[in-house]
């Protein structure tokens, strides 16, 4: 019999330990649809092998996740990949990838609280899946940038056209005399 749950817990490897002096941790959230490249982005910026934290969907998922046909499955687990970048001896940045679909929004409570901001990762083949995410971030007042992931097979559009399609403001809506730049967008 397999007692997978009784394996000894293995902590971080020696090379992955944070300095004892680190006092502040901040976070940035990468949000995007299924298969848009969140895990790849987390992995490419992280100094540690990306880790996965899980959350179980409980009453928050009732009525959202259709459990018909999978009645034996009494809880749904959603995984979030994350990585880490040590900024200095006192400051560390964590980068979390989270699914953008509405049924995963229960994860957002706590995730976006205190976050420095979000990176919305979009795929030009499925731009429409980003609309709800952008609206939701605006509602929550989360500062965000848009990153367009260029897949070899995705159609290439000028960034200006994408900005229009995503309704990204060109200048901030502040009242200051010198308008600040609008929502940053870049291809990657």
């Amino acid at each position: 019999m397999d007692f997978s749950g009784s394996e000894p817990v293995r902590g971080p490897r020696e090379a992955e330990l944070l300095p004892a002096t680190v006092a502040t941790a901040v976070k940035v959230v990468i949000v995007g649809g299924f298969g848009v490249g969140k895990t790849t982005l987390v992995g490419s910026v992280s100094e540690i092998r990306p880790l996965t934290t899980e959350e179980t969907m409980t009453e928050a998922g009732v009525g959202i996740d259709d459990l018909a046909g999978v009645e034996r499955k009494s809880s749904t687990t959603v995984a979030m990949d994350f990585g880490r970048i040590t900024i200095s001896d006192e400051l560390v940045l964590y980068v979390f990838g989270t699914p953008g679909q509405e049924r995963f929004w229960f994860l957002w409570n706590g995730l976006f609280e205190g976050a420095l901001g979000a990176v919305v990762l979009v795929d030009t083949r499925r731009l429409e899946v980003s609309f709800d995410v952008l609206g939701r971030l605006e509602d929550r007042g989360v500062p965000f940038v848009v990153a367009v992931n260029s897949f070899p097979e995705s159609p290439g559009y000028p960034l200006d056209e994408l900005r229009g399609a995503l309704d990204l403001p060109r200048t901030s809506r502040s009242s200051s005399a010198t308008p600040a730049p609008g929502t940053p967008a870049a291809t990657c």
């Binding site: 970048i85 200095s88 560390v92 979390f96």
Partner: protein
């Protein structure tokens, strides 16, 4: 029926580990990136999950990392951390108040740090 009636990730096991306690209160104290540092050594009489947290937190670790290494949901880990904090067995470093935007100097420190990489 599968050959494993006891689902490792199932709610029953999680309920046992937290002894049925609620996470609401703990959620207000711990963020995903609250840094945890052990302030005492694990002892054999401890619940295994508590001992594991003390063992891996010799250097600062975020709540998210603890959840990943223990392979337990974040919401459950914070209940365990609340126990340890109440017993003064861990230190929690969460200087940024939740639900407030970070100040400009912190943003600048992060941006400059990233540019130096």
């Amino acid at each position: 029926m599968s050959n494993q009636d006891w689902e490792e990730g199932g709610p029953e096991r999680l309920f046992v580990i937290t002894r049925g306690r609620d996470r609401q209160q703990a959620a207000a104290t711990f963020d995903l990136v609250t840094l945890i540092v052990a302030r005492s050594r694990p002892v054999p009489t401890m619940q295994p999950e508590h001992a594991a947290i003390l063992r891996i937190c010799g250097s600062p670790l975020s709540v998210a990392e603890i959840s990943a290494y223990l392979r337990l949901p974040n919401s459950l880990v914070i209940v365990l951390l609340a126990d340890l904090l109440a017993d003064h067995k861990i230190e929690a470093r969460a200087p940024i108040p939740l639900a407030t935007l970070p100040d400009l100097s912190l943003l600048e420190a992060v941006i400059h740090g990233l540019q130096r990489l």
